[in-house]
């Protein structure tokens, strides 16, 4: 009524002009119209009131009240729809009102088919209701039309009138439904699509399998080529499996009907959301199912073909059924992604409906890629752990990332998993290095430019720099081709030595490449292939060309400089060579050659001399032996002949500092060595030998009353045990004097023999003096409880921390102590200094002998040594003198 008052309020003049009669007529026909409307709408399929209705409309229109008629009719329509349609519609779903979350479906044990049928019937019903109301609406429109035809010739806007009314009605329907929308409807819809799609997909899977088994051999290749235009061939497929396809069709049609109904109810977007999310859910499940935890096979291809086979077919059928993909497409064509225009994946022959399909395909593929990528990224750590086997997964990931471009996600997630799982105190340095190498290899596949590797490698490098045994591990990995360390991580050594070998090959290849590069055409191709750096690249780190990924380079990057690495290698090589009793150094020579290729000849000069010394000693040894025609007569009662002696003669200037402790060798051996030296002097005049008596190895055979034992030990151990040949029991002081080493060193060394059960220790008369007695028989040994079994071979030096070559740290410490005074003086003058200032000052002033050439890290470790000795204090990064 508001409407009528306002409209008449505007036309007050007309009101005045109205006669009593006409007022009565208006009132009458209005009442009649209202009643007719009521009956018309309330009744189902009863159009008997039609005539009255039309007449009343006409009479009202005559008085120019057509807008009133329209408004009233629509309002009644709305009320009725709300009462009859909507509420009844929702009532269908009331039993499921407790279904609120998607995931709760499983717990609630809903009868699936029931929901299905309920949804179907509810939609059917409301559709009917709506259809009826639309019919009524049309009746009104016709009434208007017929009136207008009577009154005027003006037929212009009749269609407009109808459109206007239908649109309005559409609005009413959807607004009523949306306003009364119960929460669970969305869930139900979603659930419905999920279920039907699952059914469909299982069917289609079967079909696909059948199809594949039909075309067993020859088709396999074609399959891949065909996948891209499979959509186009759908008609062909239809012929293939008519029966099953029609079944599928039925399913698709029923889905299509639901979608259509929903659309007509104004739930277009909701329906779309629902089936899209159902498809995505299905896709996700499929991806997880296919990908899983198996990294040994590539899954991308099968996922793609699945997308083609199942969801796209479904969508195609659905869009065809709906028949209005054109409108759908036109509504969104403004948002067309640049990818959509890529013609590569579809045959040009397919016309407009497939446009929507292309968009769907792209959407689905992107989603699949993203899902797979997320899955793989979250498992990247595991993938890299078993890298060489998991390379298909890496390839997949690479493709996914090319598509999605979410490299930064990979970097972040991988770094955090690295932090959490690898860079912990519990992980051994070897394992970390191994993982690092695998990471480099794996990421090199994904991203040849190494931009992301840079980011990922940084934390590992930083962490490894903080570990003391890093260099040693790296050198071991580099040199130990046989995988000498039997740690659980397999043989990381292998990989690096292989890397050395491979590197050599690569360098050869590069040489060949360079030859080709002289060709202009090749150069042009190279130039054409240039691509800008990925945006994530750090411009500070140089351009792509300089950032060639090089595993060894990155490993050396951990250490900081190759000098340190070479230094450590030299130390390890020295130790290895000194402990060799044969002169077999083939593998070392090979390793050295490889290293030379990589690090340059000059830096490894000293190592080469070391190896050369070994070769030279071998020659000298044979020469000296040759000068002796017969076994020497000078070798006392033990009859040790010159044959048993061999020597490694080194050029001491080129070896790392060697720790030599004086030791008195047994007389007989000493004599032999002297003789050996003399002979050397004779053959190599005017050179002479200086024995490093504590170095070398001695192979011993100990004969006891009841057993024979073999040992390979250091000379000190040998001379200890040989003292017991003449005298069964020694006090520690006497023995130490005889061998010429301090008592504490002796007790340390002799522990080796005690642990072997060959010498027993007992307290002597003096408390500080111990008595060592040799055990002559097994019986005595077992009494002592330290049983040892038959023949053993053991390098005596190994179990103690004793090393023939002083370790790098010790050398460093020795070198750094020179600067201690400087540092102390500086701190006295300046009070407090930061690390880098000390470093710079030292660099500036210590240019004289010996020049200061240490790195910041070395200085830091030295200073922290001083702190722990309580000479210095460290507060807030500043060093103070301890007061």
């Amino acid at each position: 009524m508001d409407q009528s008052t306002t409209s008449s309020f505007c036309n007050l003049g007309i009101l005045d002009s109205l006669s009593n009669d006409s007022i009565c007529e208006i009132l009458r026909s209005y009442n009649g119209f209202c009643a007719a409307t009521q009956t018309l709408l309330a009744a189902v399929d009863d159009l008997s009131a039609r005539r009255d209705f039309v007449a009343h409309v006409h009479s009202l229109c005559k008085h120019g009240l057509d807008s009133l008629v329209r408004d009233h009719f629509l309002r009644v329509l709305e009320e009725t729809f709300e009462r009859n349609g909507a509420s009844r519609f929702w009532r269908h779903f009331e039993p499921y009102s407790n279904v609120t979350g998607l995931n709760k479906n499983d717990d609630l044990e809903i009868d699936e088919d029931e929901i299905l049928s309920v949804l179907h019937s509810a939609l059917e019903e409301i559709y009917l209701e709506k259809g009826y109301q639309e019919k009524c609406l049309l009746m009104l429109v016709h009434a208007f039309q017929s009136y207008k035809k009577q009154v005027s010739r003006d037929t212009r806007d009749l269609d407009a009138e109808r459109n206007h009314l239908t649109t309005k009605y559409q609005w009413i329907v959807s607004s009523v439904l949306t306003a009364t929308l119960p929460r669970n409807f969305r869930v139900i819809l979603h659930w419905y699509f999920k279920r039907t799609l699952e059914e469909l997909s299982t069917r289609m899977d079967e079909e696909l399998q059948d199809h594949e088994s039909q075309s067993k051999d020859g088709m396999d290749l074609d399959e891949k080529g065909k996948i891209c235009n499979k959509v186009g061939e759908m008609d062909v497929d239809e012929c293939y499996n008519d029966s099953r396809y029609s079944e599928n069709n039925k399913l698709v049609n029923s889905i299509g009907k639901v979608v259509l109904h929903l659309r007509s109810l104004g739930f277009t977007s909701m329906a779309e959301d629902a089936y899209a999310s159902a498809i995505f859910l299905l896709l996700k499940a499929k991806v997880y199912d296919l990908a899983g935890d198996d990294f040994r096979s590539s899954v991308l291809q099968s996922i793609q073909s699945w997308i083609q086979a199942v969801p796209l077919k479904f969508l195609h059928a659905l869009l065809v059924y709906l028949g209005d993909s054109v409108s759908y497409e036109s509504s969104s064509s403004g948002l067309k992604s640049p990818l959509a225009s890529q013609p590569s994946s579809f045959c040009p022959g397919i016309d407009s409906p497939s446009e929507g399909l292309v968009r769907w395909k792209l959407r689905l593929e992107y989603f699949a890629y993203e899902t797979l990528q997320d899955l793989r990224i979250s498992k990247l750590f595991e993938i890299i752990v078993d890298y060489p086997e998991s390379s298909p997964a890496i390839e997949d990931l690479k493709l996914c990332l090319e598509y999605t471009g979410q490299h930064s996600k990979l970097v972040d997630s991988f770094i955090s998993s690295l932090r959490y799982r690898l860079l912990t105190a519990g992980a051994s340095t070897n394992d970390i290095l191994h993982q690092y190498v695998s990471t480099i290899k794996a990421l090199r596949t994904i991203d040849p430019a190494g931009v992301f590797l840079e980011a990922v490698g940084e934390p590992i490098r930083d962490y490894l720099r903080g570990r003391r045994d890093t260099i040693k591990c790296i050198v071991t990995m580099l040199t130990d081709g046989t995988g000498g360390n039997s740690s659980a991580s397999g043989n990381p050594g292998d990989s690096l030595l292989e890397e050395l070998n491979r590197d050599e090959e690569i360098q050869e290849d590069v040489g060949i490449d360079d030859d080709f590069n002289t060709d202009d055409r090749q150069a042009w191709i190279n130039a054409a292939r240039w691509q800008p750096d990925p945006v994530e690249a750090d411009p500070l780190k140089g351009s792509r060309n300089q950032r060639k990924v090089d595993i060894l380079g990155m490993i050396v990057g951990i250490i900081g400089s190759k000098d340190q690495l070479v230094h450590e290698y030299r130390t390890m090589l020295a130790e290895k060579l000194l402990n060799k009793s044969d002169y077999d150094i083939d593998s070392e020579i090979r390793t050295l050659e490889l290293l030379k290729i990589h690090f340059g000849e000059s830096s490894l000069q000293k190592c080469e001399i070391m190896l050369n010394d070994l070769l030279g000693s071998k020659r000298t040894n044979t020469n000296i032996k040759a000068t002796i025609s017969q076994p020497s007569q000078t070798s006392g009662e033990n009859a040790i002949s010159m044959d048993t002696i061999s020597a490694t003669i080194i050029s001491s200037n080129f070896w790392p500092p060697i720790q030599d402790e004086p030791v008195n060798l047994p007389e007989s051996v000493d004599q032999l060595l002297t003789e050996y030296a003399t002979r050397f002097h004779e053959t190599k005049t005017p050179r002479k030998l200086q024995w490093k008596k504590s170095l070398g190895t001695v192979k011993l055979e100990l004969q006891f009353d009841d057993r024979i034992m073999q040992f390979t030990v250091a000379p000190v151990h040998a001379s200890i045990i040989m003292q017991f040949q003449d005298q069964k029991s020694w006090t520690s002081k006497n023995l130490a004097a005889a061998i010429g080493i301090p008592v504490d060193a002796l007790s340390r060394r002799i522990h080796f023999w005690i642990s072997k059960g060959i010498i027993s220790e007992s307290a002597g008369v003096d408390t500080s003096d111990h008595v060592y007695t040799i055990m002559e028989s097994m019986a005595e040994t077992s009494k002592n409880g330290a049983g040892s079994s038959g023949i053993q071979e053991l390098l005596g030096g190994d179990e103690e921390e004793e090393r023939s070559v002083s370790s790098v740290e010790n050398q460093l410490l020795k070198e750094m102590t020179v600067y201690e005074k400087f540092i102390m003086g500086m701190l006295t003058n300046f009070g407090s200094m930061a690390l880098d200032r000390i470093h710079n000052t030292l660099k500036m002033f210590c240019i004289a002998d010996p020049p200061y050439d240490k790195s910041l890290q070395q200085l830091q470790s030295f200073l922290s040594g001083l702190v722990s000795e309580e000479k210095l204090e460290l507060r807030d990064g500043m060093y103070f003198l301890k007061k």
């Binding site: 080469e608 080194i650 030296a677 005049t685 002479k688 200086q690 024995w691 070398g696 011993l700």
Partner: protein
């Protein structure tokens, strides 16, 4: 005892430590050489001054007339 493998270092039996010409250690090698020892031997003159063979040869060859020992300026004669 079956086998004794000892380690020794060699040194030139000369009075001095470093070569008077190149100032490198005798036990090392002259600047032109890479490998010490037999490949870069020492040479004694009649005056008992020792130099790397290569160093003294270079010296002797560079002298126009009679060469002298770089250390004591005595006439250079290779010691037999």
């Amino acid at each position: 005892m079956e086998r004794w493998h000892a380690v020794a270092s060699w040194t030139w039996d000369a009075q001095d430590e470093t070569c008077g010409i190149c100032r490198m250690a005798f036990d090392g090698c002259c600047p032109d050489c890479k490998l010490p020892g037999d490949d870069c031997p020492l040479m004694w003159g009649a005056c008992n001054h020792a130099f790397h063979l290569h160093c003294i040869l270079k010296w002797v060859n560079s002298q126009t007339s009679q060469a002298h020992c770089p250390m004591c300026r005595r006439e250079w004669q290779f010691k037999a």
